[in-house]
Symmetry: C2
Subunit: 806 residues, 2 copies
């Protein structure tokens, strides 16, 4: 790609001179935010009392961010671009705030921060100040969909925003620090999933200012030749903008942006008019090399600052206490010529005001960066029509996620025209048995497609890549710009995005407190191929701990569902797709499994979130049971019911209550979570003093943690994953972790006092069954037939069920 | 780089013919492991009863892995290479097992698996069989330092192994699935940290077989031109080996390996002889394109299998039940000509046995892949000599991590000659105040170094890159090959490697049960820049949840330490560096902080892990206190002591006990953790029934979880991080989360019954102080001087301490 621009569009010297002044205004405001409490226009000489007592913020990246913002403004005005700005270096918060202030958005969102001297003073003061705004680009920053505190996700967020927004240009600044992270490195291949026909464009701007906190950067020290090779390898064509002389740099940047945007236009027009047969386009990328802390002090106290890592945070460290520093700061700020940028009242001078786009074209005001404004409700089919029907509990076997696939297929169909729903997965949509969606759509794929390929297409609602980071990041970007989605993942490997989950939860928590941020669709996870059915892949694939991470977050933000069968899964999925500003975690298996509840029962059960399965227990009406057998999760439910079956036959007088938990948050006190049960309701389910044998899907401690303040906490005996596993049989997995029917039944017998000699005999039989199991699987390599085929007794009468373990 | 080889070394046609047979033997054994219970040499026609009832395993990647293994064997023999094999596609377990069996290592490690027909039968049967071995390359696999279940870390592990092993060649196979992950994508830049002088070589072999579970791969569908650009951009020179005709491919692969190894030799010799001025070398990479499921069935049931994703797992799905499948399987296995590979007794024929290297040159037997064999104890200075001295508790302020830096500096010095200790950090060694290490060493850096750069060098013990994934992966590889290390990280961002921590913990758990695997040094984390001192970076930088993840793992594997000051930190660091086969997490702040314990007291306290600070409390000897104020973590300790100070003055009769926890695992029952206190000891510290106000560093639930079964659990009132935070002052951070001295003191007053009207008055004063604080920080932007300067009263008499909050 050559640096050729249309002469009609090329920026004039006057344009660039004005643009330079606009940039200086943004730089001035950025420095002011970091340093000043007062005297915002420098109408008097700086005094110590004008300086904040604690100096917090990051200067280094900011002038580069401001430079890019100003040039994007120019391009928006010329080409009437619909553009947003994803600021990878979130540290550059002062720059994002300065620019949205200059363009007028800030005062509209925060009317207190007026466009005059008083507003400037408040703008400066509030930055990194208690009760004010954070030091980063954050939810509080208009125009931002990206925090940038934890580095790595700028580019995936940008792609997520661009999908299904054919008119949008997402300018994405990636710092050379962030470029060293794994998620960012993988993100470059996102262009293999971007349709030039149906999606918008991402314009990555790799900002190489050369340094991190205390080190040079890898990419910053690479030669242009290596950078060019690297980006061509990524499928991009790099445009270099390099230097430190602002005048030269403005020309280079303006021209590079013109070329990049013209290249984007021509790629999109070619593809949309089908003027050429399809080939994956080579999208432009701008490589901007500019000094860290550009235009700031060159040296301080004899040490190199501009163009070095010492410019990273607050370069002039002690202007309040050191008169030389104070003078240096004043010189620095005056070097921008504030008197030529702002009028006497503190308003931006009119010739500069005219440089900013207007209305929703302003990047701070673009509704795509406040996605809730654009969100439409998802059209959902009636989930009840996908119900699995069966003669009696346990009377039918179904694969829960396969049933869910049919529902999702129709969600895809109903929203096909709206193009606002995507399904993400790391190469696991079929493996997770959601195949039915391929009746309605394909996997999006921009590389070559072979005749024998299956469900790959240039247009499709399913996105598969072997990177949980990309799936998560794309989906976050997609949701933050007002759309909907669903992420299915192997349970163990969702830990790969623990930190991304954390950051998204934090974003939601802050956003919910900002009235101007409209609610976005929830982030919905389906965790399947879960710990209990990774007997084939072994220990590395067995980890149910994501739930523990999730429950550390603010109660309002998170929900965890453990539907025990297909009908409950359908209810849960339908419910989650209707919620907003949440993170919903659904854990459900994909293997053939007995079904327990009719759709009618499933609805009642799920609406309560927890309940007694009277049909499964042996308790008498109006009397407390001897023991409560509680369960949460599909495999624990199966094992609990099997244990009850064993006990029912062996000790018919034992009164057992079965409690099943779908919505894990019901276990928490009402005061701690909106879904939490009152103590009274909790006690009525779990009794105040009877033993509770709780079979839980994940690490058992979580149940103790959620219930520690309940009356009967001392009676809770929880079993779950004990970090024991390998490649073995499905039932052996539960046995290794002592979550199986035999261990559960044995514990019930042990915990109920006074069961006498008959019970001791039963216990011995159960122990023998465990030994027999162990011998059998080690000899035959599969579970005993009576374990595999065990089905809950037909409670409506009818067929005789197979018996368990004896 | 041209495909030129030394004619003396070039493989002859006869060599390659034998090599092909060796490869076929490995393929045969791989298929046998997936399918057969018996009849391992096909001495009779296959019958259904010879087939395993459950077929678990992955064929697709295996023939490629075997191909590479066989060629590496040839190179090892010719060049007397010291090489190990990192198998990224861990699914290819059957191949790794087959090859270590063929070379004779397997039977040495597992004497039951003999090198005859009976051994073969057992070898086949045990694979993916209950009580047998996992389906993946795993700790059980000789020669493996890498599990490969969770994809992404092969290349970082390989680099970790190569560092400081100048004679080692680490061949690292990266599947094209794994190549899509973030951590792997970032790993390519590891070559910027590899010294051709002091380190060994990594030879990456990118194995493009084109498919994942159900999709083509991104890199598999890229053109050679794009791949070449990409790898040149990464600083590598690619050598392509492409095709499906084994005979052609053997020639190409042998030549490519010759070229690659000759290139490595010449790079290393040039650098070691200093024949040229330093420039970062362009290391070779082999790009191997071969069909997925190569040499397996081309089609099954009319569907394409070889060269497609259907070959991923078990291609012939039902040989036990479907006679056509059984026939197909038998044809497939016989196509390798087992009768020409094994003699009548099942031994590998002598001409093939001769192809394998011998002794420790066998990749399965190379001691670098069982690092404990090579591990030397770290030389440690006497940590007591770094003690911070002070007149009385709180009488001195120190930065704990800065003191630790001095200790680590001397660890570096003492082990400089051994070259077996490295410090990793994501650009944070200085930021985390460990600067003193730069008195002893530098940061290793292979790109350009400018005159004004600081502590960058071609040789250095500190590794900094803005990727927690790389830091963690390099360190794991370094430890697994018998060395030592230390990883300092911002607390919030350690979540980025949650899943890597999980996998390493799983590796350790399994390894510890294998007597032949020798113990390796522990993985030591220092989490600093922690949640309570991220008031400047804001909400995204505030997360103490890693501890929760850690405590889900097997008790024997993990330790969590929260030293409250510098002397305790020194004890803990010294202790952790002496341990093995563990993961130690140390959480300690870097900010100036009052010091509480002399070194003598610190030793006593840390050895117990928990204890009563009698000097800090107000309890009478031989009497129970009214309230226990417990604390874990530096900031909670400070706030607790300040709260006690407030209470001591306001309510002199209140009997307060102060308990400080350094070793978090002491809170767990003895039965659950080896460091756990007995119930009796726990009760003697926390009483059986007095209120306990517990100020904890992280999410408060964890303390409930650890103590739920203790007598006084009902009396535990835990405060910690409540997910409230922003950019504000340090003290405001604790106030926002109600962990501050005022809230703690108020809760103590509320929980102790019968304190009367005076107490109510005190409570009101404390509440007023909170309001005053809030007003003050929002006005002044910094904490009140009396908060900032608060110092614990000099218990030895002497100076009057400043007072708190009133």
């Amino acid at each position: 790609m050559q640096l050729m621009t249309n002469p009609n569009e090329r920026a004039s010297a006057e344009d660039l001179e004005l643009l330079d002044r606009y940039w200086r205004a943004a730089n001035y405001l950025s420095v002011g935010q970091i340093y000043l409490l007062d005297n915002p226009l420098l109408k008097e000489p700086l005094k110590p009392e004008h300086i904040k007592p604690r100096l917090l913020g990051h200067w280094g990246t900011t002038p580069g961010l401001n430079f890019i913002y100003a040039h994007l403004n120019r391009a928006i005005c010329i080409y009437d671009l619909n553009a947003i700005y994803v600021c990878g270096p979130g540290h550059g918060g002062p720059g994002m705030v300065a620019n949205t202030y200059l363009e007028g958005t800030y005062a509209e969102v925060y009317p207190d921060i007026t466009r005059d001297a008083d507003g400037l003073r408040k703008l400066f003061r509030q930055f990194s100040f208690p009760g004010g705004i954070p030091s980063h680009a954050a939810p509080e920053t208009p125009g931002s969909i990206h925090e940038g505190g934890e580095l790595g996700y700028a580019l995936v967020h940008a792609y997520g925003a661009a999908f299904d927004n054919p008119d949008l240009v997402v300018a994405c600044v990636i710092g050379d620090g962030e470029a060293e992270t794994g998620p960012l490195a993988a993100s470059w291949h996102s262009n293999k999933f971007l349709s030039p026909v149906h999606d918008g464009a991402v314009l990555p701007i790799l900002h190489l200012n050369g340094y991190k906190i205390a080190n040079p950067t890898i990419l910053g020290r690479m030669t242009d030749e290596e950078i060019r090779d690297l980006f061509r390898g990524y499928g991009h064509e790099p445009l270099f903008v390099e230097g430190d002389d602002p005048h030269v740099m403005h020309r280079l940047m303006a021209d590079a942006l013109d070329v990049a945007l013209s290249s984007i236009r021509s790629i999109q027009q070619g593809a949309r008019n089908q003027t050429t047969s399809f080939h994956r386009p080579r999208w432009p990328v701008i490589v901007l090399r500019s000094p860290k802390g550009w235009t700031g002090p060159k040296e301080i106290d004899g040490l190199k600052v501009e163009g070095f890592w010492r410019a990273h945070q607050v370069p002039v460290t002690n202007p309040r206490g050191n008169p030389d520093h104070l003078k240096l700061l004043e010189q620095w700020m005056r070097s921008y010529g504030p008197e030529k940028l702002f009028d006497a009242n503190g308003g931006l001078v009119p010739e500069l005001q005219r440089l900013a786009p207007t209305g929703n074209r302003r990047m701070g005001a673009n509704p795509h960066a406040n996605g809730g404004l654009l969100k439409h409700e998802l059209k959902l089919p009636d989930f009840r029509s996908y119900a699995v029907d069966f003669p009696s509990p346990g009377g039918t076997v179904a694969e829960a996620t396969r049933e869910l696939g049919r529902f999702l297929r129709d969600v895809v169909k109903l929203n096909a025209d709206a193009r606002n729903f995507r399904i993400m997965g790391p190469d696991e949509t079929s493996s997770n048995r959601l195949d039915a969606v391929f009746e309605a759509t394909d996997r999006i794929w921009m590389e070559g497609i072979e005749p024998y390929d299956v469900h790959l297409a240039r247009d499709g609602r399913v996105m598969e890549v072997l990177s949980e980071h990309l799936c998560q990041g794309w989906l976050e970007g997609y949701l933050l710009t007002g759309r909907h989605g669903f992420f299915s993942c192997y349970e163990a490997f969702i830990h790969i995005v623990d930190s991304m989950f954390n950051q998204h939860a934090k974003w939601l928590k802050v956003s919910r407190a900002l009235p101007w941020r409209r609610p976005i669709a929830s982030l919905n996870y389906l965790l399947t191929s879960h710990v209990w059915r990774q007997d084939h892949n072994g220990f590395s694939h067995q980890d149910p701990g994501f739930i523990d991470l999730v429950t550390n977050k603010k109660a309002d933000i998170v929900r965890v569902y453990l539907p025990p069968d297909a009908n409950t899964l359908l209810w849960v999925a339908d419910h989650c797709l209707r919620t907003y500003d949440r993170i919903n975690v659904i854990v459900a298996g994909k293997q053939p499994f007995p079904q327990w509840l009719s759709m009618r029962e499933a609805i009642t059960h799920c609406e309560a979130g927890i309940g007694i399965w009277t049909w499964a227990g042996t308790e008498a009406p109006n009397a407390e049971p001897d023991v409560v057998m509680a369960c949460a999760g599909d495999v624990p439910t199966l094992e609990t019911l099997a244990a009850v079956d064993l006990l029912r036959k062996a000790l018919p007088d034992l009164k057992i209550r079965v409690v099943n938990v779908v919505d894990l948050m019901t276990l928490q006190p009402k005061e701690q979570h909106p879904h939490g049960l009152s103590d009274r309701d909790f006690d009525s389910l779990f009794t105040r003093d009877k033993p509770v044998i709780f079979a839980y899907h994940g690490y058992p401690y979580l149940i103790h943690r959620l219930t520690y303040s309940r009356t009967n906490h001392g009676g809770m005996h929880v079993r779950g994953y004990a970090e024991e596993g390998t490649t073995t049989t499905p039932f052996d997995m539960v046995v290794l972790n002592q979550l199986d029917r035999f261990h559960l039944a044995i514990e019930a017998i042990e915990r109920v006092p006074g069961l006498g000699i008959a019970a001791a005999h039963v216990k011995q039989k159960l122990r023998d069954a465990l030994i027999e199991h162990s011998r059998y699987v080690r000899e035959h390599g599969e579970d005993m037939p009576q374990i595999r085929d065990w089905i809950w007794p037909n409670s409506a009468g009818g067929t005789t069920p197979r018996q368990t373990g004896d």
